[in-house]
Amino acid sequence: IGEIRLHIRDDGIIKVSRSLKKIANDVRKKEEELKKKNNCSPSILELSKKTGYSKEEIVQALEANKAPTSIYETVYE
């Protein structure tokens, strides 16, 4: 089962694991698009609906892209 990487879940949704980088890119692109269209930043809930990624997938993808643990790490880099 693990080989196929297709997981049938309790709620019947079939999920495939996706690359965090792709998720982050898709989300950023959609954010730009919606910002231009509506003249305000979309919420993570809208982004989740529009991209099909779950909120936690989005949070994790954005965290993976850049993850300073404190401002100090950014400042002293």
Binding site: R9, D10, K55
Partner: protein, 143 residues
């Protein structure tokens, strides 16, 4: 390596995602592959979903998720204080379910995705799932 964390949640289906990321982020301190992390997330989803659907069918309750890293080993313990299970042997059979619309594969998934898996339950006290996983990469080095 040694680390420990504890997450306490309300049994709302909207909290399954939080359980998934918390455990995956915690686990990522060990040398798991993305595929293994995905397996851990599925196992956690199944265990937490069971607490929500089966453990607390009527009223909202609390779910405890204890995470521990000792050496190369990840242990995750998911506990509810709900209705419990009458016959633990029976529910462990693949395709066993007490809900018609369900497939009864959750526990089988946990069993296949984790290296070690135990189910403990007491009627009207609650249910506990204990799951252990070690990065495949690590097991090979040791052989």
């Amino acid at each position: 390596m040694r680390n420990q964390a504890h997450l306490k949640l309300l049994s709302k289906s909207s909290n399954v995602g939080l359980a998934r990321v918390a455990v995956a982020t915690f686990a990522s301190e060990l040398d798991f592959t993305l595929n293994e992390l995905e397996e851990i997330k599925v196992a956690v989803s199944e265990a937490v979903t069971n607490c929500i659907i089966h453990g607390y069918p009527m009223k909202e309750g609390t779910i405890d998720i204890e995470m521990e890293i000792t050496g190369d080993k990840l242990t995750v313990i998911v506990t509810d204080y709900g209705v419990g299970i009458e016959d633990v042997e029976a529910v462990l059979r693949p395709s066993f379910t007490t809900k018609d619309e369900h497939m009864g594969l959750g526990l089988a998934f946990i069993d296949s995705f984790m290296d070690d898996f135990k189910l403990e339950s007491e009627l009207n006290k609650g249910t506990r799932v204990i799951m252990v996983k070690v990065p495949e990469r690590y097991k090979q080095v040791k052989k």
